[in-house]
């Protein structure tokens, strides 16, 4: 029963992540790659790398936007990086907010960029929390299955 309950929780979490637009078809592709390709831990690896990468990039952008003279080219380059890794992992909302962020970079608007950074940060933290819950549930399911053997 415990195993089934954990699986239900995980299934519900994933469903809500898709229905809320947090993740898209690319994330589904990565899950299928893991399940069909027999590569356990693949999604966890990619998700963890993405979260570390995104945290670093957001910090870099924040530092750049604090400077007296903002290098919008450098900010744009970092946003482009974050958009790319978001797309690769299927982080749809983060990707879309990066696209909007790039508009403000092109307009060389510090206020616009600061606002966009706040939105990207919030979207990323929301997604990261969901990913962390997902990984915890997967670990609990694995531990439960291992005990049953």
């Amino acid at each position: 029963m415990a195993g089934a309950a954990l699986r239900d929780q995980l299934s519900a979490l994933l469903s809500s992540m898709f229905s809320q637009g947090l993740v898209d078809e690319q994330f589904e592709q990565l899950q299928m790659l893991q399940d069909e390709g027999g590569t356990p831990g693949f999604v966890a690896e990619v998700v963890t790398l993405f979260c570390d990468d995104a945290e670093r990039i957001i910090a870099e952008i924040a530092t750049l936007l604090e400077q007296p003279i903002v290098s919008f080219d450098k900010v744009d380059a970092f946003v482009h990086q974050l958009k790319g890794s978001s797309a690769s992992v299927g982080a749809q909302k983060v990707k879309f907010t990066c696209m909007q962020f790039r508009q403000f970079c092109q307009e060389k608007s510090r206020d616009g960029c600061l606002m966009a950074l706040a939105v990207v940060r919030n979207e990323f933290y929301d997604l990261r929390n969901k990913f962390q819950t997902m990984l915890q549930l997967e670990q609990q399911i694995q531990a439960y299955d291992h005990k049953q053997q």
Binding site: Q26, Q29, L30, M32, L33, Q34, E36, G37, G38, T39, F42, E45, V46, L49, F50, D52, D53, H80, Q81, K83, G84, S85, A87, S88, V89, G90
Partner: protein, 135 residues
């Protein structure tokens, strides 16, 4: 997913070795995962410079798949160096990019790239490469 190992090879032959080049750790992990699930052997590096170092010491690379935009050496510059080298020019090179820029795509194909993939790369893109690039 279809295995690339069976294509044109003998039973028991080693898996084709692909060199993946991308400065993004996330993209390296994704492309490596996709390639390994198609039974490629994969080495992933984070720069064109490291790619050339490996190509100098590893004789059996069947294909190079590289990101276009990388600091210091772009994927296009890596492609040019490979195609200018007598020992490396026969290795198929595939370029990946998150931006659909026709002039960029044409430039790479004219320089000898086998294919140009838009990111995010899908497993179906790799299956297509198997049949086209690795004969």
């Amino acid at each position: 997913m279809a295995s690339c190992r069976s294509l044109g090879g003998e039973i028991g032959a080693p898996a084709p070795h692909v060199l993946a080049v991308d400065d993004s750790s996330v993209d390296r992990a994704v492309i490596s995962g996709i390639l390994r699930s198609s039974q490629f052997r994969v080495t992933a590096v984070d720069s064109g410079k490291r790619a050339l170092e490996l190509l100098g010491s590893e004789p059996n690379v069947s294909m190079i798949i590289t990101d276009y935009w990388m600091p210091e050496m772009t994927g296009y510059e890596l492609l040019k160096k490979v195609k200018e080298s007598s020992s490396l020019k026969e290795i198929p090179v595939v370029i990946m990019s998150s931006e659909n820029v026709p002039t960029r795509i044409n430039m790479c194909l004219e320089e000898g790239a086998e294919d140009f993939l838009l990111k995010p790369v899908q497993p179906s893109d790799v299956s297509r490469l198997c049949s086209r690039v690795l004969r």
